[in-house]
Assembly symmetry: C2
Homo-oligomer: 252 residues x 2
Amino acid sequence: MRLIVARCEVRYSGRLEALLPEALRLVMVKSDGSVMVHADTGGYKPQNWMTPPTVLELERGGEPAPDEALAPGERHDDGPVTTDVAPITRIVVRKRAGSTEDRLDIRVVEVLSDVVHDMGEAAALEKSGVERELQELLADAPEWCGEGFRLVRREWPTDIGPVDLMCRDATDGWVAVEIKRVGTIDAVEQLTRYLERLRAEPGMADVQGVLAAQQVKPQARTLAEGRGLRWVEVDPAVLRGEREPELTLFDV
Amino acid sequence: MRLIVARCEVRYSGRLEALLPEALRLVMVKSDGSVMVHADTGGYKPQNWMTPPTVLELERGGEPAPDEALAPGERHDDGPVTTDVAPITRIVVRKRAGSTEDRLDIRVVEVLSDVVHDMGEAAALEKSGVERELQELLADAPEWCGEGFRLVRREWPTDIGPVDLMCRDATDGWVAVEIKRVGTIDAVEQLTRYLERLRAEPGMADVQGVLAAQQVKPQARTLAEGRGLRWVEVDPAVLRGEREPELTLFDV
DNA sequence: ACTTAGATTTCGCCG
DNA sequence: CGGCGAAGTCTAAGT
């Protein structure tokens, strides 16, 4: 990873046109070709960036140095890039985008710091609490979606995509369950499209629909109810047995 | 901005639980409180992060150093943080998230580099080419949405949100125009919902719908046509008068 | 290669 | 502060 702190002006042209006036910024170049331009404020997002695959081009004192990118050649281990060569004056990042080209043009006025670090491979992130896990938990305990529900199968196929859970309810009626982390209007639309298809199947004319989510937005509740669909909020911690179900609807 | 290159293990708990095993990473701390943990690969996204507002807590050699964050005190100008104090052993980032707390816990095993840079304010970004501009261009030239179209008003209010453009067509009929950069199935659903509401209004029973986008996806075209909606692809460069309209529908 | 759906989406606007 | 729509969304998975 190469970290360049520099006063620079940045132009992006591609899906849109953007100009960052001259200011002090961090230019981060990853070994996978990612380039990000960060200001000291502005939160999570880089002010400008380019995702891989990219082609980098560096200029020093007006001279192109096409082979230099992450490993500047002057040294092999970590640390500051030596300054016994002309300073960087321009970094151009290119990327093929269909028939056109995305381009990030960084005009470097002054370099305050320029270091390279060999970080090796960083192990991947393990996470839990995403929609996939919610689906697994509800597949093991479908009664949280509705009283007496029994799972028939996960990922029930339709020609417009799989229904998350297909269940039978207490009276053996079919129920399609759509699972989201956050239940929005889009989730209700999606569930509606599934039911539209499913009800055309033989024996499925009466299939019901349930939206199960960690959080169901008010507008989604209203739309669901208006369409005769049910919705339910589920708590992953409760499903995992880590917490007792709430007895009240709201925290006091 | 503080840049710490360190071997570290990172735990996030909040909206989900995540663990990054020990590895070399960059920890970026912005003066607005943003914290991002980047690996050398993985592209645009940090492996872990916390958006402002946050509270930071640093430990050195097991001792908490609560007042240290961006300006470590040992120095005032830019550059490496002096190493005549015990090395950082832990960084805890906290954030209130409703009734609970989001927490990023960085256990630091080895610090390879730790520098602070004062970057001042970076001027804001100017951009063009997004949906807003498309709406402005089409508002000035609604005939690109359909022959004889005249604009009645932009952002026509409904109780489920504003319709981008409300027009009259060549025969004085109402037309609702939904504008997207990329026209997907969602855009057709959105337009459908607007029409559902609008047609309930007096005098609007026959309002037509048009989806106007720089690019309309095949599935969106099919869905729109199936619902009696029209769609049209528009080119911002042509709207701006920078380019002649294509005489063929497809590039050869 | 293209499309679809999820994301700790983030971000900005407007109530 | 919450809800909703847009984003250069990005990214992973499926076809």
